[in-house]
C-alpha cells in the first residue's frame, strides 16, 4: 500500500469547503463538550448521530472524530482552572494543573496541555498512517491472557500514584474495584451487590462517579472555605509556557504520546486509562516525585499528550479491521454503517476515500484545535474573574445536565450527588481519589480477562506462562510492586518516620 499516495488522495477528498466546515464544527463542539463538566464525547456523539445520516460519509465521520479529540483538548480547561474535570480523561490533569493555577500559572498549564495534545495527536496520526494495518493485526492477537497481564501492570502503576499513606491508597483501590463489581457478572449472568435494584443492575456510571467525586466534592469544599476567600489568583498574561516548562515537558509529552498510543490501540483501552498511566509513569521517572500534585508541569503535559494519542490510535482497529475498541469508536462504527460504509479489513481497499479521508481529517482537526485553543487560553483564564458564587452553581447545573444526558437516567444524578458527598468526606480525611477512579476503570477489565483466560485455558493459570507477552508483563508488574515495597521500606528507615 502506497501510504503517501493514499494520504495525498485523502487530503484531496477532505479538502473541500464542506468537509472543512464539518471538521471545524466538530472541533468547536468537541472543545465545548470537553469544557462542560459531565457532557462527554459519548453523549455528544450519540446526540449527533442521527444528523449525520444526511451527510456524506467522510464529512460525517470527520466531524464525529473531531468532536472526540476536540473534547480531549477542552477537557483540561476546567480541570486546571477550577479543579473540576471536564470529562473522565482529564481527571489527573486536576492534580498538578490546578496546583499550577493556584500558583498563578494557569496559562502555562493550559498552553502546555494544548501543545502536548497537539504534538501527541500529530505523532499519533503519523504512526497511524505508516503502520495502521500492521498495528491492527498486532492488537487483535492480544487475547484475554495478555489483557489480564496488562491490567495487572496497570493496577501496579496505580500504586505508584499513591502519595501518602499506602493503607489509605489500598483502601481506595479496593473501594474502586468493589464499586466496579456492582452489576451483572459476565461469567454467570447473575447480579452482584445490586440489592434487587434495576438501576444498580446496569452498574454504576463512570461519568457520574467522576463528576461526583471530583466536581461536586470540589464545589462542596469551596462552599465550606468560601468564608476564608480561597479564590485562585491567576496571572492573565503568562499564557505561553516558559523555556523551563518546555524543557521539563518535552520528554513527558513524548512518553505520554507513546504510552497513550499503545493503550489506545488495544480494544478496551482508551484515553481515560492512558492519562492515568501516563501520570503514574511521570511520577515514577520524574525527579522529586514528592512535588507531584503541587504544580509540576510534567503532570499536565504527559497525561494530556497520552489521552490525545489514545484517541488517534483508537482509530486503528476501527479503520483497519472494523473492530471498535471502546464505546466511542463503537459509535463511530455505527455511523459508518449508517452511512453505507462497511467497516472491516476490506474498507481500506473498497472505500479508500473514507479511510484516507478520515485520516487526513485528523491532521486538519488537530491544527484547528491548536489554533482555536491557544488564543482562547487567555479567554478561559478570564473565567476565574467570575465570582465562585456564580461560577460554581453554573458548573453544578451543567454537571447535572451532562450526567443526565449520558443515559437519561435520574438515578445517575443521585449517584453523582452521593459521590460528591463521599468525595468531600474522603478528601477531608486525606484519602486520594485518583486511585479509586483508576481501579474503577481497570478492575472490571482485569476481572473479565482473568476469568476469560482461566476458562479458555485447559491448563489453568499456566496459560499466563505459556504466552510470552503475558509472562513478560506479569514479571514487570511483580517487579514494580517489589520495587515500591523496597523503596517505601528504605525511605521509612532513612526518614525515620512511620
Amino acid at each position: 500500500m502506497d501510504t503517501i499516495g493514499g494520504l495525498l488522495a485523502g487530503f484531496e477528498v477532505i479538502l473541500t469547503w464542506q468537509n472543512i466546515q464539518f471538521i471545524f464544527i466538530g472541533s468547536v463542539i468537541g472543545t465545548l463538550i470537553g469544557v462542560l463538566p459531565g457532557i462527554g464525547p459519548l453523549a455528544a456523539l450519540s446526540l449527533l448521530l442521527p444528523a449525520t445520516v444526511a451527510l456524506p460519509p467522510v464529512g460525517a465521520i470527520a466531524m464525529l472524530c473531531a468532536i472526540f479529540y476536540g473534547s480531549m483538548y477542552g477537557g483540561s480547561i476546567t480541570s486546571v482552572l477550577v479543579n473540576i474535570p471536564g470529562e473522565a480523561a482529564s481527571v489527573v490533569t486536576c492534580l498538578d494543573g490546578h496546583a499550577m493555577a493556584k500558583q498563578g500559572r494557569a496559562g502555562a498549564a493550559l498552553g502546555m496541555a494544548a501543545l502536548g495534545s497537539f504534538i501527541a495527536g500529530t505523532l499519533g496520526i503519523i504512526v497511524l498512517c505508516l503502520a495502521a494495518p500492521m498495528l491492527g493485526a498486532f492488537a487483535i492477537r492480544m487475547g484475554p491472557p495478555e489483557y489480564a497481564a496488562l491490567m495487572l501492570l496497570g493496577l501496579a502503576c496505580t500504586i505508584l500514584m499513591i502519595q501518602g499513606s499506602a493503607l489509605k491508597g489500598a483502601i481506595m483501590i479496593g473501594l474502586g474495584a468493589w464499586l466496579a463489581a456492582i452489576g451483572m457478572d459476565i461469567v454467570t449472568g447473575e447480579f452482584r451487590f445490586t440489592a434487587g435494584s434495576v438501576d444498580l443492575s446496569a452498574g454504576i456510571e463512570l461519568l457520574a462517579v467522576v463528576i461526583g467525586l471530583f466536581g461536586v466534592s470540589e464545589i462542596l469544599l469551596n462552599v465550606e472555605q468560601s468564608a476564608r476567600g480561597m479564590a485562585v489568583k491567576a496571572k492573565l498574561s503568562a499564557v505561553w509556557p516558559t523555556r523551563a516548562d518546555w524543557k521539563a515537558s518535552f520528554a513527558p509529552i513524548l512518553r505520554g504520546s507513546g504510552l497513550g498510543f499503545a493503550i489506545g490501540l488495544l480494544p478496551g483501552g482508551g484515553p481515560v486509562t492512558a492519562s492515568f498511566l501516563s501520570y503514574a509513569v511521570e511520577r515514577r521517572v520524574g525527579k522529586n516525585p514528592e512535588t507531584f500534585g503541587k504544580g509540576r508541569i510534567e503532570g499536565v503535559a504527559g497525561p494530556e499528550a497520552a489521552n490525545n494519542a489514545a484517541v488517534s490510535s483508537g482509530m486503528i482497529p476501527l479503520l483497519s479491521l472494523g473492530i471498535p475498541g471502546n464505546a466511542v469508536t463503537a459509535l463511530l462504527m455505527g455511523a459508518l454503517i449508517i452511512n453505507g460504509v462497511q467497516p472491516g479489513p476490506t474498507m481500506m481497499a473498497d472505500r479508500a476515500d473514507v479511510f484516507w479521508g478520515v485520516i487526513a481529517s485528523l491532521y486538519i482537526g488537530n491544527v484547528f484545535l491548536l489554533v482555536l485553543n491557544l488564543p482562547l487560553v487567555g479567554l478561559w483564564v478570564q473565567l476565574l474573574r467570575v465570582p465562585y458564587a456564580v461560577l460554581f452553581p453554573a458548573i453544578l447545573l451543567l454537571a447535572l445536565v451532562g450526567t443526565y444526558s449520558a443515559n437519561r437516567n435520574l438515578f445517575d444524578l443521585w449517584v453523582m450527588l452521593g459521590f460528591g458527598v463521599v468525595g468531600w468526606f474522603l478528601r477531608k480525611l486525606g484519602y486520594e481519589l485518583a486511585p479509586l477512579v483508576l481501579a474503577f476503570v481497570l478492575a472490571p477489565l482485569l476481572e473479565q480477562s482473568l476469568r476469560q483466560s482461566m476458562v479458555m485455558s485447559p491448563d489453568g493459570a499456566m496459560i499466563f506462562l505459556q504466552r510470552p507477552l503475558a509472562a513478560v508483563m506479569i514479571a514487570a508488574a511483580v517487579g514494580m510492586l517489589l520495587l515500591v515495597a523496597f523503596k517505601r521500606k528504605t525511605t521509612t528507615l532513612v526518614g525515620g518516620t512511620a
Partner: protein
C-alpha cells in the same frame, strides 16, 4: 464549490433538520394513514426507545426504521438509547414506566423474553403490546479462515471436540441464545466446550479474529466485512432453513439432527399495553406501511435481515411472540434451568 459565508451557515444549520426535511416528501401510504389518524395525536415527537447502545446492530435498525416512519407519516420522532443491564433497564422502563399516551414506543427484539425472566416478576412480556414486526435474522457460526478448523466445517469441529473433550474454545454471551446454542452443540458432540464469556457478540468475533477462540457466533452485519476480507468463514447458520445471504452454508439443525436450534433475532415494535387502541392501530399501520416499502426492505437486506411477510398483523405478531416465549421456556425446562 465556492466559498461563501452563507454556505457555511447553511451547512451547519442543515444538520439538526435533516430528518424533518426528508419527511416532507409525501409517501403513497400517507393518505390511508391519515384516514385513521387519532385526533390530537401525536402532539409531540415520538420517542423510539432502543435498549442497546448507539451504533450497535439494534440501534442501526432502529434508526433506519425511525427514518422510514417519518417518511411514511410525516410526523417527527427520535431514537433514544435507554441502555444498561444488557437491555434490562430499557425493557423495564418500557414495560413499567413509559407514558401510556403513545409518545414512547419500543423498537425491541426477542431478547425481551429473557429480560422478562430476569426482571424477577416486575413485569412480563405480555405487559407490552407487540404491534408491528420489522425483521428477523439467524445467528451465523464462524471460524477463523487461518485457524485449525478452516476445513471440515461444523461437523469437523464437533468431531474434534469428541476426540479431545474440553479443548474447543467457544465465545459465549451468558444467559441467552449463545449459551443455549453452545449447549446444543455440546450435546451433539457428547463433550464439553470451553465457554469463554464475552460482553456481547462483537468482542467474541474479535477474539475469533485473533485466534483466541475457535468458534464464535455473529449477526451478518457483524461478520460480513471479515468474510469479504477472508478472515472468517461461516460453518453453519441457525434456523429452519438456510439464509439467502449465505445460501451455501448448512443449518445447524441439519448437521446435529435437531429441529430446535433456531436461535436468532427477531425485531419488532412494542408499546405499553395501556396505550389507547386507536393510537396503537395507527402506529401499527404506519410501521406496516414502512416495512412494505421496498426501499426499507433493501436497507434491511444491507444489514443482513429480512422482513417476515407472514407476520403482517398485530394479532399474528402477538401470537408469534407468545410462541417464541414458549419455545424458550420449553428449552429452559428441558435443560434443567427452570421447573415450569
Amino acid at each position: 464549490m465556492t466559498i461563501t459565508r452563507r454556505g457555511l451557515i447553511a451547512g451547519s444549520a442543515a444538520l439538526p433538520f435533516a430528518g424533518a426535511a426528508m419527511a416532507q416528501e409525501t409517501h403513497p401510504a400517507r393518505a390511508a394513514l391519515n384516514a385513521i389518524k387519532p385526533a390530537g395525536y401525536p402532539r409531540e415527537p415520538i420517542e423510539m426507545v432502543v435498549v442497546y447502545p448507539a451504533g450497535g446492530g439494534m440501534d442501526i435498525t432502529g434508526r433506519v426504521v425511525q427514518r422510514f416512519f417519518e417518511r411514511v407519516t410525516g410526523e417527527r420522532s427520535f431514537v433514544n438509547n435507554r441502555t444498561g443491564g444488557a437491555g434490562l433497564v430499557g425493557h423495564t422502563w418500557l414495560a413499567t414506566q413509559a407514558p401510556h399516551d403513545g409518545h414512547a414506543i419500543g423498537i425491541i427484539a426477542n431478547l425481551v423474553i429473557s429480560d422478562a425472566a430476569r426482571s424477577q416478576g416486575r413485569w412480563q412480556v405480555s405487559d407490552l403490546d407487540h404491534i408491528a414486526h420489522l425483521n428477523a435474522e439467524p445467528l451465523n457460526l464462524m471460524v477463523n479462515a487461518d485457524g485449525p478448523f478452516k476445513t471440515g466445517g461444523l461437523r469437523g469441529l464437533l468431531e474434534a471436540a469428541r476426540a479431545r473433550p474440553g479443548t474447543i474454545r467457544v465465545a459465549n454471551v451468558v444467559g441467552g441464545y449463545y449459551e443455549y446454542l453452545i449447549e446444543q452443540l455440546e450435546q451433539a458432540s457428547g463433550s464439553r466446550f470451553l465457554k469463554v464469556p464475552f460482553q456481547g457478540g462483537g468482542p467474541g468475533i474479535t477474539a475469533l479474529l485473533g485466534n483466541n477462540v475457535d468458534l464464535a457466533f455473529g449477526f451478518f452485519a457483524e461478520v460480513r466485512g471479515h468474510m469479504q476480507g477472508n478472515r472468517l468463514l461461516p460453518v453453519a447458520v441457525t434456523g429452519r432453513q438456510s439464509t439467502p445471504f449465505l445460501p451455501e452454508t448448512p443449518t445447524v439443525n441439519s448437521i446435529i439432527g435437531r429441529n430446535d436450534a433456531n436461535w436468532g433475532v427477531s425485531r419488532w415494535i412494542a408499546v405499553p399495553k395501556a396505550v389507547p387502541a386507536d393510537r396503537k392501530a395507527w402506529l401499527a399501520a404506519a410501521f406496516r406501511a414502512a416495512v412494505a416499502d421496498p426501499a426499507l426492505v433493501e436497507e434491511f437486506r444491507n444489514l443482513g435481515a429480512l422482513p417476515d411477510p407472514a407476520l403482517d398483523t398485530p394479532e399474528k405478531l402477538n401470537a408469534a411472540v407468545a410462541q417464541m416465549a414458549e419455545a424458550e421456556r420449553a428449552y429452559l425446562v428441558a435443560s434443567g434451568r427452570a421447573t415450569r
